[in-house]
């Protein structure tokens, strides 16, 4: 795949006129998807896709064209030739883009993450057998992911990853279930079976105890890393980017302005090492190893795309155009895992949150639901599952004044998102013990 992409880059280069430049971003995958419900196969198949997004510029006048690739050089070259002509035609009629920037230097980078995937023909029977006496629902995704970049200056970047992502939940009844995930580059039967075993422990509690109905109000809660992930995924929409902050559209504007702060326990940032995303972005800018976003509760740096850098006169740190993190890491605290229930004492253990959105963007106030296994805790012991509850709470309280502690151990979670293509994003987060977390419905 890499050789093929580079052949196409060489072809594009031959088509450029003396006053033209190009850049090209490649995305591809060869993925198996096995969707299951009630521990049986619901819908399964394979997708092979390759796309190239070509940008041609004359000075600061430029346009983009995204095309599918067939894999046949003659055919794809012909399509690219047409695309270049179309781009030339369009560029004629538009003004210069004052925020158009290209890389100053040529930074070649190749990263290939090998892995070992289970053989599908053996894996599907194993999956169904493992879940046979359970009501399991979810999806197994497996295969190869590719990203590439090249430009007129000769920059060549390539990323490939052999990886899998098994995302599932095991249901007891109605909305009572335990959720789990196993993802990475190298499959391990032992690791998978250990996760299923942990499901059974939690499932057993759902089966043994009837639901306890709780009322709206403030509760001490522990958010597992999976639950806290939902908070950060909401923030990733718009909170961390320079453009959002400059246009007062960020949920963290009060933090950026210094009017409010988070707890000194809270430090997080973009850290490429240990993540699963490529180091180069869609414009060929290389991301630094680490970008501190918040340190000890204070705002440090935004994520800055090349376009925002040009617009606001701040150096880019290689963010994509959406200025969302791709490898977010949050530092842990002092709470030991074995102490969680005791430290909750009386409150809720929340495994997952769901469907978060802002109720007041400026106040970083967000609403959402509990989901899957949420348990009541009393006298430091895990008790019954509770009814799903809606919360409405500000980030400045939940990770600010009301944050009691963070788990000392963080958990690396690989995104299971497959909108359009398999995501390479990851989050490494601890759990959070929070006081007076407000439920409204």
């Amino acid at each position: 795949m890499q050789d093929y992409f580079y052949q196409l880059l060489n072809y594009i280069n031959t088509q450029m006129k003396s006053d033209e430049e190009f850049s090209a971003y490649f995305t591809g995958e060869s993925s198996d998807f096995c969707r299951f419900n009630s521990s049986k196969v619901r819908q399964a198949g394979h997708v092979l896709q390759k796309h190239i997004r070509l940008n041609v510029n004359k000075g600061k006048r430029h346009a983009y064209y995204q095309l599918p690739l067939s894999g046949d050089l003659a055919s794809d070259s012909s399509v690219l030739k047409d695309a270049i002509n179309k781009l030339r035609f369009v560029i004629r009629d538009i003004a210069e883009d004052p925020y158009f920037v290209t890389t100053d230097t040529v930074s070649d980078l190749t990263e290939e993450r090998e892995g070992s995937l289970p053989q599908i023909n053996q894996f599907v029977p194993k999956l169904c057998h493992t879940f046979k006496n359970l009501d399991a629902v979810g999806i197994f995704t497996s295969g190869h992911i590719y990203r590439g970049f090249g430009n007129s200056k000769g920059q060549r970047n390539w990323f490939s990853s052999t990886s899998f992502n098994l995302d599932w939940s095991v249901y007891h009844d109605a909305d009572k279930a335990v959720k789990n995930n196993f993802a990475g580059c190298s499959w391990s039967d032992d690791a998978f079976e250990a996760k299923v075993k942990s499901d059974l422990t939690r499932l057993n509690r759902l089966e043994r105890f009837s639901e306890r109905k709780i009322s709206p109000g403030g509760y001490r809660v522990y958010l597992t890393p999976s639950a806290l992930l939902e908070v950060f995924e909401l923030l990733s929409w718009n909170a961390f980017g320079l453009k959002s902050q400059k246009t007062r559209s960020s949920a963290l504007n009060r933090l950026v302005d210094g009017k409010q702060s988070l707890s000194p326990l809270v430090s997080f940032g973009e850290e490429m090492k240990g993540g699963t995303a490529p180091r180069f972005n869609e414009y060929g800018f290389i991301k630094p190893e680490a970008i501190p976003i918040v340190e000890k509760g204070q705002f440090c740096e935004p994520l800055v795309s090349p376009q925002s850098a040009a617009e606001y006169g701040i150096a880019s740190n290689g963010a994509e155009s959406g200025e969302a993190p791709e490898s977010l890491v949050m530092q842990g605290g002092n709470l030991q895992s074995e102490e969680i229930y005791r430290k909750i004492d009386k409150g809720l253990f929340i495994s997952n949150l769901w469907y978060l959105n802002y109720s007041d963007l400026e106040a970083a106030r967000m609403t959402g639901m509990t989901r899957f296994a949420t348990f009541y805790v009393e006298n430091g012991e895990l008790k019954e599952p509770v009814n799903v509850m809606r919360f409405d709470e500000s980030l400045y309280r939940m990770l600010g004044a009301n944050l009691v502690d963070l788990n000392s151990q963080s958990e690396l979670m690989l995104s299971a998102s497959t909108y359009g293509k398999r995501s390479t994003d990851s989050f490494s987060l601890p759990g959070a013990l929070i006081d007076d977390f407000k439920f409204t419905l």
Binding site: C34, R35, N37, S38, K40, V41, R42, Q43, A44, G45, H46, V47, L48, Q49, N55, H62, A63, Y64, Y65, Q66, P68, S70, G71, D72, S75, D82, A83, K86, V90, D93, I94, A95, D97, F100, I120, V124, P125, V137, I139, D167, D175, T247, R248, S249, Y355, L356, N357, Y358, S359, D360, E362, T367, G368, R371, M389, R390, D392, T418, Y419, L441
Partner: protein, 483 residues
């Protein structure tokens, strides 16, 4: 720009030559073009164009189903794709949740085409840039508007669905999403206004801009955003709500559309998008809402976003009442889900593109107009809020406990509209909320809207759906504001 030289019938022949004996197979080829042109606060951004061309082969064999998708139309590529689909069908047969040997696939021939008056490429780029420049000038004319965006997003999709049983359906859908948004900052407060959120989407070409009042909106929304910055917050109390169509679409989408998806009721979505409070036994008897509530699946509305003649599994699409006078009659499920659950459904098995399999989706889901004028609805409210344009949406995984936030609120006091309120939000429970529907607006209050981003499925897919709705009045809903 041209697509692959291989036409769909030729592709079908190629697939057929490699297929061998199976119980059933289909080819769904999708060719699409997309254009985005954005003016951000006076600066035209680089145009984005795209084409996409690929196909999905679905095979049923021995009771199993498998699919494979690719954009490689070479002989080698097609043979590989066929092999992968067959392998998955055979592999899943022993473990399949559904016995596909019992599946019945309809044999249909048909064509659908969006009525287009002004195609995207009929208008030079320079002229489209001028339209956005004019809109942008209107948006940012006040210094208190600190950010703005005017954009045009156009999509054209040609789909061919051809089966081994001689079905051939060709559909050509073209839609436009013209957008406007502003951010106003005044007196330390920031507020946002947009042109229906992302909701102003219709089938058609550039003629849609005049139909939806694009330039008029560009004039109006900055004034509204600035006015909101000086408004008090929405009160925290139980109030009557009059919801405009561009909030009704989210209310319908989240608390009627998704809960009625049959695959959700069957449990297929429980790991991701969730389940439903609706169960099989409710169809035909459950009183979903007040007797003013009439909900239709209507693929026949020519300009509505998700109009079509057949779904992506070849089922002919017709208008169906899902809820009539408040009673639940039918669900949103294609023929496979209808057979699995044993309840009536509609032709709504859809895939976002060639690289995702068809699943039960909303298409056009509408609330049928009633008899009330907007003025009469407002006059009937002693104390309430008139809310416009959704900006926040959240609901539980069974589609019951919801919360919505709107961009714009205006108090109703003593039957009259009074002052604006900021950050109007409300929350409720679906199974109770629709019983508080007290008046349904007439055709004059109705707007044809939609969303390009309805997400569900594993693997995930975000598809376009249409919603037409009048303004509606709800009694005694818990409303509240920001901090």
């Amino acid at each position: 720009m041209r697509f692959s030289v291989i036409d769909s019938l030729k592709l079908h022949e190629m697939v057929s030559s490699y297929m061998g004996k199976v119980d059933f197979w289909s080819l769904r080829r999708v060719r699409s073009t997309e254009n985005r042109l954005v003016n951000r606060h006076g600066v035209i951004k680089a145009p984005h164009m795209s084409i996409n061309d690929g196909y999905m082969i679905t095979v049923m064999s021995g009771g199993g189903l498998g699919y494979a998708a690719s954009s490689d139309m070479s002989a080698f590529g097609v043979s590989q794709c066929v092999g992968r689909a067959k392998n998955w069908a055979l592999l899943s047969a022993e473990y399949s949740l559904i016995d596909f040997s019992e599946a019945v696939f309809h044999r249909n021939q048909g064509v659908y085409k969006t009525d287009l008056e002004q195609e995207w490429n009929d208008i030079p780029t320079a002229d489209k840039v001028s339209i956005l420049k004019e809109a942008s000038a209107l948006l940012k004319r006040d210094h208190r508007i600190i950010d703005s965006e005017a954009y045009l997003w156009q999509v054209g999709m040609e789909t061919d669905y051809i089966t081994d049983q001689k079905s051939h359906i060709h559909q050509s859908i073209h839609w436009m999403n013209p957008g406007l948004r502003v951010v106003a900052n005044d007196n330390g407060e920031t507020e946002r206004r947009s042109f229906g959120g992302h909701g102003v989407c219709r089938q058609g070409g550039l003629e849609v801009l005049d139909l939806v009042g694009f330039m008029q909106a560009a004039e109006q929304i900055p004034e509204e955003a600035i006015a909101l910055t000086n408004a008090p917050g929405c009160p925290d109390e139980s109030l009557d709500l009059v919801l405009a169509p561009d909030q009704m679409i989210l209310q319908i989408h989240e608390s009627i559309g998704h809960p009625l998806e049959l695959d959700r009721i069957l449990g297929d979505e429980r790991n991701y998008a969730g389940r439903s409070f609706v169960s099989k036994d409710m169809f035909g008897s459950y009183q979903y809402g007040s007797d003013l509530l009439n909900i239709t699946f209507d693929p026949t509305q020519k300009s509505e976003l998700a109009s079509y003649a057949y779904d992506d599994e070849g089922l002919k699409a017709e208008k169906v009442y899902l809820i009539k006078e408040g009673k639940l009659l039918a669900g949103l499920g294609g023929h496979v889900s209808q057979d699995r659950l044993g309840v009536p459904g509609v032709a709504n098995s859809r895939a976002v593109d060639w690289n995702r399999p068809a699943i039960d989706r909303m298409a056009n889901l509408n609330l049928e107009p009633g008899e009330s004028s907007l003025e009469d609805m407002i006059a009937s409210v002693e104390r309430g809020v008139y809310m416009k344009t959704n900006q926040s949406w959240s609901i539980d995984d069974s589609r019951n406990k919801f919360q919505f936030g709107c961009e714009w609120g205006q108090m109703i006091e003593g039957g009259k509209l009074t002052h604006l309120v900021r950050k109007p939000n409300y929350r409720g429970v679906s199974s109770e909320f629709w019983h508080s529907l007290s008046a349904v607006g007439n055709q004059n209050t109705t707007d044809i809207l939609g969303t390009p981003f309805c997400g569900k499925g594993e693997p995930n897919q975000a598809i376009f759906v249409g919603h037409a709705s009048p303004a509606c009045l709800f009694r005694n809903v818990q409303a509240f504001g920001g901090e």
